[in-house]
Symmetry: C2
Subunit: 444 residues, 2 copies
């Protein structure tokens, strides 16, 4: 048995990750707003001893909601209700440092961590969608570097808010009448370039001290941020080589900042189509691709690449020359990833759309349970992954197949645990509970 | 049997409403951050067929947390976990129009309403605590009138966000591939004095359309706001006469705006000490008062009245001449209420502190179950209340006694229902589900 164990998260997307999942007969579209559906899913993931369930988020409506289930479930409310239906699984909420108030966000996470008894994780994002700005009174979306600058200050501020109550501050001694030792509760008195916050927070320090820090940007700014702050990194790679490059880079950057690289776990996304034969799995994948709508995917290409194409160009080659240079795109690393697919595979437009339909640029694999397990093992043992975000093509079936057929193989190979070893989300990550108050760190 | 039925809410405060509740042997202070404690409480209130559980809130820490359990549970996370443990009871979250972003708040409420299947209510507040400003980058707390001006615009904006998806917008037709009819999803394009928000919201319209609107300010601005927007009004009165004056005033104001006054229900707070004899109830109340700490209450007097007193003045009269004139106090109506107590009862400082210790100015009654029921019935039948916010002095015992001993009497008298009659929070309030899109209203 290998001492190092895989980390597995269930990345939940309403309806599933394949853009056409909601149209498939395996999906019940009437349950997409039913909390019971997500509670059931989280209970399944908990039975499989997954590290966490993870919800993406963004504070605006995707205009391709016409063609796919691209509304947004608000993560804190949703995960709190999921917490109430589970005991051990981690709960990772995506929350924007661009469009939230740090005091409000600090309260939401501290409360989620309290009510889940230490299972909260924060996927720290800067909001990429430019249309979000108009929902928050801004005429223009802040540029990429500016958003990361605010993100660093934001994380520093909320961390200090979480640490503003020392662990010993809550006394609650009925006899003496001392409820909270206010000498152990501290204002943070932050006044920086973007934020001004006095504190302290209005509730006691939470079981984990603070949520586990997750980060998902793979741009230059994103990697620097991950190296400085992240305890887990979500990332998208199409090839082992690209995964290895990223893995080595993030670990080296973390080490250069004096951090233990093992405490920054790297988790690529993987969206598995599983069949009892490879042919069956490929046919299943094809079944989903045939339900896609070109209008949806052309929109995605336009957004990712600046490519304006019409439906009658679907069976021609991707016009490489028409792709806009990167400029101020929100999602530069995803842009590069799509360019790499085009260069490597020379697909037609339709083929490219199908490549992206599965999981928006994340890796889609189709195969037998053994083949999926082989892929996972290969990346895990060859320096590309400490684990994976499992992105089921559809829900719940796409996850059920993984839990029933792939997880047992991973266990039989000694790669994945059979039960939880601790009560909080910190424990599978090998993360100690941070002491408070942690002095604020200045990160370049 | 009277056709008109009482409305009863359980107003939850960590530890209970009496300032010394957490010190009493009936309270377990180790459970104040345990979600299971609040879930149990909500299940008890649901068994009693209460309209709702209600959480107060504010985005800052009360400095008297040294002496009492005055931290703040974040309402959305907490109520979402309570929703998961209950089926029918309403869930009223307090949320500030002063220190939140309307887009974020609209999402939290829409999600709470979705996951609870239509049980959300919003206690609309302007934040009164001046120290909150410093947690949100402001040098000064906005003045009272300014906060209400923003509140009106804020409610208009979030209402339009909730209505930005027509009910028919969510199609989810697997066959045609139309997930959302984007012709039925509308930008709100709001640009006002305080807020600029484009919309639309990023999730479908919720079961109730929007949360039930509750309001709790009793100042002139507060009453005008309640008359225009509120579907339920929380209020504090010490005497039947004061309750009647307020009740008549709010109903008349609503009628003057063309609203049906029956659709604005008035719910004073009441904090009951219950004993098998009146003497036993009074002794119980005294037991709690003896656990109070003068430092806590003197702080409250300072905050409410501007009175700076020391512990050696406790047994003298309240120095009426030292009370600051109202000026720019956040809580003008509560100020007046305390002045009225002083004028009516001529208490010593200690007596006044004990009067306020029960429920921060809300009415405290001590008596047998019959006496408590009599008080409730009197107010209900004499134009002072459509129901009550029950504010248990301590938890869970203070609520259990009410549910076990007072509720059956109210039922026997035909004043309170024996079971829920509908599935959403709108139904006990007799409120129809609002149509969408509702044209925005301009309210003076």
């Amino acid at each position: 048995m290998s001492a190092r164990k895989l980390h597995l998260n269930l990345f939940v997307y309403p309806g599933g990750h394949h853009e056409a999942a909601w149209r498939h007969h395996g999906t019940d579209p009437t349950r997409l707003l039913d909390i019971g559906f997500y509670q059931d899913l989280a209970r399944s993931a908990e039975r499989a001893a997954f590290d966490s369930v993870f919800f993406a988020d963004g504070p605006s409506l995707a205009d391709n909601v016409r063609y796919a289930s691209r509304f947004r479930l608000e993560p804190f409310t949703w995960l709190s209700a999921v917490a109430a239906a589970t005991e051990r699984i981690g709960l990772i909420a995506t929350a924007s440092t661009t469009y939230t108030e740090p005091y409000n966000l600090a309260r939401l996470f501290a409360s989620l961590d309290h009510l889940s008894r230490g299972r909260a994780g924060w996927n720290i994002v800067t909001t990429g969608a430019p249309q979000a700005a108009a929902n928050f009174g801004l005429d223009a979306h802040p540029v990429h570097a500016e958003r990361y600058d605010r993100a660093r200050e934001f994380v520093d501020v909320v961390t200090r808010l979480w640490d503003s109550w020392e662990d010993e501050a809550l006394v609650a001694d009925q006899k003496s009448g001392l409820f909270a030792d206010t000498d152990r509760i501290h204002e943070i008195d932050h006044a920086g370039r973007h934020l001004k916050v006095r504190g302290p927070l209005n509730l006691p320090r939470s079981p984990q001290g603070r949520p586990v820090y997750v980060q998902a940007g793979s741009s230059e700014d994103g990697r620097a941020f991950a190296a400085a702050y992240a305890e887990a990194v979500f990332t998208a790679h199409q090839t082992l080589r690209s995964g290895q490059e990223f893995y080595a880079d993030v670990k080296a950057r973390a080490a250069a900042l004096g951090r233990d690289p093992r405490r920054v776990i790297v988790l690529p996304g993987i969206s598995p189509f599983i069949g009892s034969t490879e042919a069956e799995a490929r046919a299943l994948h094809q079944e989903f691709n045939e339900l896609t709508q070109p209008e949806y995917s052309l929109h995605l290409l336009q957004r990712l690449l600046g490519l304006e194409l019409s439906a009658d160009e679907l069976d021609g080659p991707v016009p490489r020359s028409l792709i806009e240079t990167r400029g101020e795109r929100g999602n530069g690393s995803r842009f590069q990833l799509v360019l790499d697919i085009i260069d490597r595979e020379q697909p037609t437009v339709r083929q490219l759309l199908h490549r992206l339909a599965g999981a928006r640029g994340h890796r889609v694999v189709a195969g037998t349970p053994e083949q999926i397990a082989d892929e996972i093992q290969e990346w895990f043992e060859h320096g590309a992954a400490d684990g994976f975000n499992i992105m089921p093509p559809w829900l719940t079936g796409g996850f059920d197949l993984f839990a029933e057929h792939v997880v047992p193989i991973l266990r039989a190979r000694g790669l994945f645990r059979t039960a939880y070893t601790g009560a909080t989300l910190r424990e599978p990550h090998g993360l100690p509970r941070p002491a408070a108050p942690v002095p604020s760190k200045e990160i370049a």
